[in-house]
Symmetry: C2
Subunit: 175 residues, 2 copies
């Protein structure tokens, strides 16, 4: 299986922590293998690692990752999600399925040369909305719904329910 | 066309403004008609109205909306998005397409009786991620991709582009 990594650029400490946490958890829940964040942020790493511990993995998180270096060294395809890009519908069939995919998610400002470096600038709609929404819909469409069906083996398992919350807990020790 | 309204519950001033703005803009970009927010927040209203002015509508925003009253008075279907609900794939075909739809998006805490009041508790995956991601993917699947194709007539129009940013501005006066 080709690797699927989300690179979150423009992360600012404190101010973006909640949004970047949502980016990371969305990446995990919709089938990406890892999230990389440009700015070092140990709190963020701990928060994501905690979800992985409780709800399961594998899912990797790295912060303090140089975007320049990552883009230069990446041997697969680079897709940049941006409201200025080409429509998702038209772009998806052109993205190779047999290569690793680096999915770059910006914040409000990304360096202009990212548009040049990316193999594809993809717009999940040409309207302003949310990098979290764009990431989720891209992954859902790219993995053709299978991202959401990924099985996680964690300590906690949510059991789908028509009413209320049903969570089962796996204990690591036998009684 | 049945009406499609997103009700955001649990909004807290300042702390949630960015996240709720993303919920509102995602609702707009993915084809909902309106967003309602439980707590009154004029800044939020202004921010969303500003996007509507610049990028086009119609799209309505109301804050200070009583969730209890809204749920009681709503004559269509109520869908509650929650990681504890039933899988999206299985639920979507059961939601009536000819009735108005109120789509309830919580924050971390929602009152327990919401699970009873909603006609459907729908999980966009049974993993923790983001209300913005859940809303986007629900709308994308529910509107079968047509939400993203909605045309907006605003002052600014983003022109899809393989490289860089292309935005055209409509002036209201003739030269």
């Amino acid at each position: 299986m080709p690797r699927l990594v989300v690179l979150r650029m423009g992360h600012r400490l404190v101010r973006d922590q909640r949004m970047t946490t949502h980016v990371a958890l969305t990446a995990r829940a919709f089938g990406a293998d890892e999230v990389w964040v440009d700015r070092e942020d140990h709190d963020l790493e701990a928060r994501v690692a905690d979800v992985v511990t409780r709800f399961g993995g594998p899912f990797g998180v790295r912060t303090g990752v140089s975007p320049k270096g990552s883009l230069r060294r990446w041997e697969g395809t680079v897709v940049h999600l941006t409201m200025y890009g080409e429509p998702l519908d038209e772009t998806l069939p052109r993205i190779p399925r047999d290569r690793d995919l680096l999915l770059v998610v910006g914040s409000e400002k990304v360096p202009g040369d990212l548009f040049e470096k990316a193999g594809f600038n993809v717009a999940v709609g040409n309207q302003p909305h949310s990098e979290v929404a764009a990431l989720a819909v891209f992954l859902d469409r790219w993995l053709q719904g299978d991202g959401l069906k990924k099985r996680f083996e964690g300590r906690l398992q949510v059991q789908p329910s028509a009413r209320g919350k049903v969570v089962t807990t796996q204990t690591s020790e036998d009684p």
